[in-house]
Amino acid sequence: MEIKKTSLNKLHQSNNAKFVEFAGYEMPIQYSKGIIEEHKFTRSNSGIFDVSHMGQLFIYGDESLTEELEKIFPLDLKNLKQNCSKYSFLMNEDAGIYDDLIITKIEEGYLIILNAACKDKDFEILSNLLGSKFKMNLDNNKSLIAIQGPKSVEILNSIINGVDQLSFMTGNWFDSDNQKLFVTRSGYTGEDGFEISISNDKAEKFVENLIEKGAQLIGLGARDTLRLEAGLCLYGHELDINKTPVEANLRWAISKSRLSDGGFIGSKKIMNQMQDGASQIRVGIKPEGRLIAREKTKIFDDTDKQIGEITSGTFGPSVNGPIAMGYVDKEFSKVDTKILIEVRGKKHPANVCALPFYKKNYVKGVN
């Protein structure tokens, strides 16, 4: 299959991007300054991320759509206000996760942002579940640009006036350069920021404009170190079809009002696990010293019994040390539990720790 390119591919090239294949797309892993500089720039200033490979699924329908979606997602969608977003999951009957996603209530329906590697399968699953009653559009004509970091609000507001009025996890339509843009205040870095849905033919000029105002392009490498410091899950690593939201320590994302009656796919398993606890749970892990524990690193207790596995691990540039996330048996999931990680055939000490590794700077609401 031919590798796909986003509408910003040429811009990445002219900014000396190093490319990797990600979910069938040619994506920038880093630019000339490198991952650590890009990471720190995002934390202190404003980073631009091309996330156009992600799926933008628009589903249109009346109130019956809300009812149908509540049979799928563990969310109180009836009480979700227009332009408000929620983090959620598409699950199977065993509460195994097909994908994690952000769903936003829009005027005529819902917008769901899906992971690039999952979007086509998600579309198929949702089409089968919803039938032909609702109009569904996995929109390939739109790019998705994220801008993240403390200066992002000022920079973006100078181009799209009014975005500074958005609260965290809300969105709205804005007019800019003779087109309607959907902007949400959200992100994946632990910083304040926005995601902008924009037509492909306008994306390059829009990003050039952001760069002119002082923001810089950031690659997938720094996106990974940023999200890991923020304790956020990456599908295919922390989450997959064999993990449930309870095991992933994401029970906060399940609406409380949906737990008494269930009625969503996977609800039985979720309700059982909420009551009895899961046998393994996602935790933060800090190796002692500078040692890095990568994905698939085995975790042991002091009797040489394997008690878990690392799902993501790297060096955290803002934490200035190694950080990881992984799954451990329930009895080892308490903060400050001493564990051993096996790297290159030797066991090294590490500690279970609280998430996030880096404190968030989200804007909660606007006065």
Binding site: G34, I35, I36, G221, T225, I292, R294, F315, P322, R344
Partner: protein, 126 residues
């Protein structure tokens, strides 16, 4: 000090008497990106030509460091373990990895000179 020689695994080596100093090349650091972890061989241990003699990790991945010649490790550069970013800053100078007392200086004959290495690096990275 002898002429700097280079290996296909992107190490550089210089010789002073029978003690060789070994590090990784600038080209290697550019391929790796930001280096955030370094592990060196133990002082007093013996390493064999083309065997592993350390590890470097970037934000992205771990890579073995090989020794281009055999010998006994007589010194290691602790400063790059404490501050791995130094390897990106000065890979072919102050950020050397280890020193070996070598047994067989003819092992250096198979290595590349600067011109040969630059050509090799260019060909293999494109």
């Amino acid at each position: 000090m002898s002429e700097v020689k280079f290996s296909k695994e992107h190490e550089w080596i210089t010789l002073e008497g029978d003690v060789a100093t070994i590090g990784i090349t600038k080209h290697a650091t550019e391929m790796l990106g930001d280096i955030v972890f370094a592990e060196l061989p133990e002082k007093g241990s013996n390493v064999e030509k083309d065997g592993t003699a350390g590890v470097v990790e970037s934000t992205k991945a771990a890579s073995d460091v090989y020794t281009p010649v055999s010998g006994e490790v007589v010194d290691t550069n602790q400063s790059i373990v404490d501050d791995p970013a130094k390897i990106n800053e000065d890979p072919e100078g102050s950020a050397w990895f280890f020193k070996l007392k070598i047994k067989d200086t003819t092992e250096l004959d198979t290595l590349m000179n600067k011109e040969e290495y630059d050509k090799f690096a260019k060909e293999t990275s494109s």
